[in-house]
């Protein structure tokens, strides 16, 4: 028995040691906590990166279950890109279980994509959990705003260039090309959304604030009573009354939210429900960052027409 166990352990050790250098020799192995950050890292890193994401696009990134399979991904990573602002705090548990010193907090293989951004909804007074599962350092859903992409990609570029300084020029070129494409798309999106400036919408979870602000729309309320807390019947009654009073015609929901409930509210308030792409790949046809924003702009515009 003891000998058999020893043999198994020895085999694992040898296999592990042999497998140490498996993988693309020149590519930076990057793991991003969300698919948005994966997509943005890919556009900057180009052929020099191999990027994987921990959360799927249609998963709620607030509360991801820490599976050992995530640790396997981080175990092999040279670089970990996190959203920060306490959206993906679960990533710390993944890092602790991955035994990868390259990506522990403070290491050079860490990129906090929120670094240097001016964050919306930073609490200025006391907050506690009577307000629900609040984000105490501000709203973390900045990647949904295409206007934030220049700053996010700048953070990513810095991180990649730290590991491969020789390729900085290439990364900068990739980023510039992406921002050029984003510029063109932004002009299109701005035109599409221009007729709806000032329109009021209801959201399921308060994650569309940056996106709405970018295009001049107003968030009039949330289906959730408080962040992370399911609505009570009283809240829904008030919400429906508010939607009728203010002639609000659109509810934005995420793929992981209770769409049937939103449909019921919409039906009572004579409004529509639009499923938004809460991340790259969250819904069909959103496989790139620009595709995702494109989808969301079209979805909102159609919903408000």
């Amino acid at each position: 028995m003891r000998t058999a166990v020893m043999h198994v352990l020895l085999a694992l050790v040898v296999t592990g040691l042999l497998a140490r250098d498996v993988g693309g020799a020149d590519k930076i192995r990057v793991v991003a906590t969300t698919t948005d950050l994966k997509a943005l890292t890919e556009v900057v890193g180009g052929d020099f990166v191999d990027v994987d994401a921990l959360a799927r696009g249609n998963q709620n990134p607030h509360d991801l279950e820490v599976r050992p399979s995530l640790m396997v991904k981080v175990r092999r990573a040279d670089l970990l890109v996190t959203n920060g602002l306490e959206l993906d705090q679960w990533a710390e548990v993944v890092v602790q279980g991955s035994n990868n010193a390259k990506v522990i907090p403070g290491a050079s293989g860490r990129i906090d994509a929120s670094r240097g951004l001016l964050v919306l909804e930073v609490p200025t007074t006391h907050v506690d959990r009577s307000m629900g599962d609040v984000h105490p350092v501000g709203n973390p859903h900045y990647t949904l705003d295409p206007g934030m992409a220049p700053a996010i990609t700048a953070n990513i570029l810095d991180g990649l260039a730290r590991l491969q300084p020789a390729n900085r020029a290439t990364f900068e070129q990739n980023r510039k090309a992406f921002l050029g494409r984003l510029d063109e798309a932004m002009a299109r999106w701005t035109t599409t959304m221009a007729p709806f400036k000032g329109a009021r919408v209801i959201v399921d979870h308060n994650m569309w604030l940056y996106f709405l602000t970018r295009f001049g729309l107003l968030q009039a309320g949330t289906v959730e009573e408080r962040p992370g807390i399911p609505p009570t019947p009283g809240h829904l009654t008030r919400l429906i009354a508010q939607m009728k009073d203010e002639h609000i015609k659109l509810i934005l929901v995420e793929p992981w939210s209770d769409q049937k409930l939103a449909e019921r509210v919409a039906q009572d308030a004579d409004a529509k429900v639009t499923v938004m792409a809460s991340g790259v790949g969250a819904v069909k046809g959103t496989d790139s960052y620009i595709d995702m924003v494109d989808y969301n702009v079209r979805a909102v515009a159609q919903g408000l027409r």
């Binding site: 498996v22 279950e65 035994n99 999106w189």
Partner: protein, 518 residues
């Protein structure tokens, strides 16, 4: 802005001063002149401070990396106006309290961000300039003016000093309270699941947790625990865990040093309040005691770079656990080992498998070896926030050397081979709405006794309600059946061979609590 506030303050002061009728003109003129001088002095002070701040910004900008990134607030050419040009697009609902949030213009960048709102991020975080520290060091020591004197001081300013920029570790408090109802004979025998606390409400565990990074190389975790051992007594405070983890060791290894709940089996490492059932499984209580295996020593882990997850663990400890070991000498230590692996089964299912071993000496110097195997399966359908189904189980096998003196050989020993296991399942069948907060669970226990003959089984259905991630209530019924008379009997007062128990558990979490692993 601050100058304007100063002017307003002066103006208000002027208006609020004593009525002119009570003053002569000369006195008023003198007062006005004094205020004018004070205002000029304040203005000069501000100009001086602003100039110095401007110079500091220039100096810092020249030290930062060149602006590879455009400012976060600046949109690329041809794009929409910057985010900060517009207020956030929220509209407070009618009758609701406005959210306690700042407009974006005063939103602070993260602590590691450059001081200027428009500066681009520079090098890696560890080498980033400690902006806040410099700000303190270089602020000109100007004499306080009226505005500064009017500004709230402690304790109000204390709140402003807290936040993301502070060197604080995470702090959390958990409370776990249990109401225990059972038959009188079980209470008399003190043979319940929580011995001595039958038909009683008690604080099983109130825990203060402190955890965070020590430095770039290590993190620490300290937990103090207050728990009630006997009815009528105040809870006693103990050090539940205090350890550090070295995260940058060579060959991708980690070492955890100090006092810890051992990573032995599936549930030993889980604290009471986090257990997926109300009580520790019978087999663990019988073989490792009420508190489980909590030892002082070191654990080393290695996660080999394989395509699938494998964690190898080895540990060396005192062997303080007096139920299974108790020799308590690091020269003849308790040695533990564990291997754990994990597989995704399609997009929605996942299984974790583990095997553990612990070998140490009992106080009489004879060895005891525990071998364990465990599994955990979860099924989370697409779009669900919680598992629909969780199934887990653990099996433990004991090889304990005990004295078995014979007439010819008084030092003769023999091995007691004993085992036990449990299987647990939990169903959380509703995806959304209020009912999604409920789950139904069931655990079946079967275990032999580590030294006495006989065995017992138990069936434990329960229902859990979690109004939020931080609050949980659980109602449990447990039926235990020991099939060896005398196994659990205090012959003086009663028997607990067959017992029925009802538990009501309430658990809360205040503050920080790390995410739970699979």
């Amino acid at each position: 802005m601050r100058s304007l506030a100063g002017v307003c303050f002066v103006a208000v002061g002027l208006l609020a001063s004593s009525p002119a009728s009570a003053q002569d003109v000369e006195s008023l003129k003198k007062e006005l002149e004094q205020m004018r001088q004070q205002f000029e002095s304040m203005k000069e002070g501000y100009e001086k401070a602003m100039n110095q701040m401007g110079e500091r910004i220039k100096a810092l900008e020249s030290r930062q990396a060149p602006a590879a990134a455009p400012p976060a607030v600046a949109a690329p050419p041809g794009t929409a106006p910057p985010v900060l040009a517009a207020p956030p697009a929220t509209v407070p609902p009618a009758g609701a309290t406005p959210p306690a949030t700042a407009p974006p213009a005063i939103a602070a960048p993260p602590a590691t961000a450059p001081p200027s709102a428009v500066a681009a991020p520079a090098g890696p975080p560890p080498t980033a300039t400690p902006v806040s520290g410099q700000a303190v060091a270089q602020t000109p020591a100007a004499s306080p003016n009226l505005t500064e004197l009017a500004r709230p001081r402690e304790p109000f300013s204390l709140y402003q000093q807290r936040g993301a920029g502070q060197l604080l570790f995470d702090i959390g408090v958990t409370g776990d309270f249990i109401g225990d109802l059972t038959q009188n004979n079980v209470q008399q025998a003190q043979g319940g699941t929580f011995p001595g606390l039958e038909n009683y409400v008690f604080a099983r565990e109130v825990e203060l947790s402190l955890f965070g990074q020590i430095d770039p190389y290590a993190r620490a975790e300290v937990r103090f625990e207050a728990s009630q051992e006997q009815r009528g007594q105040s809870p006693t405070v103990t050090l539940a865990e205090a350890n550090l983890t070295l995260m940058t060791l060579p060959f991708d290894t980690q070492a955890k040093l100090g006092q810890m709940r051992n990573r032995f089996g599936l549930t030993n490492q889980i604290h009471e309040h986090d257990l997926p059932f109300v009580d520790r499984p019978d087999v663990l209580v019988e073989f490792l005691g009420q508190d489980g295996l909590v030892e002082k020593g070191a654990e080393f882990t290695w996660v080999p770079p394989l395509p699938f997850y494998v964690e190898l663990l080895g540990g060396v400890f005192n062997g303080d656990n007096d139920t299974a070991f108790g020799f308590a000498n690091i020269k003849k230590p308790l040695v533990t080992g564990r291997v754990k692996t994990f597989f995704e089964l399609g997009d929605y299912g996942a299984i974790q498998l583990g095997a553990s071993v612990a070998n140490g000496l009992q106080p009489n110097g004879l060895t005891n070896t525990l071998v364990g195997a465990d599994m955990k399966y979860k099924y989370v359908p697409d779009g669900w926030q919680h598992p629909l189904l969780t199934v887990a189980g653990e099996w433990l096998y004991q090889l304990r050397r005990v004295s078995a003196p014979t007439a010819t050989d008084p030092s003769q020993t023999q091995t007691l081979n004993r085992s036990g296991w449990y299987l647990f399942g939990e169903l959380q069948p509703v995806q959304f709405g209020a009912l999604s907060r409920f789950s139904l669970g069931f655990r079946y226990d079967w275990t032999e006794y580590p030294t006495n003959p006989g065995q017992q089984w138990a069936a434990e259905p329960f229902i859990t309600f979690m109004p939020s991630e931080f609050l949980r209530f659980r109602l449990v019924y447990k039926h235990t059946h020991g099939n060896t008379p005398g196994c659990c009997t205090n012959t003086n007062v009663g028997s607990a061979r067959i017992k029925d128990e009802i538990f009501l558990q309430s658990t809360f979490i205040l503050g920080a609590h790390p995410a739970h692993p699979f």
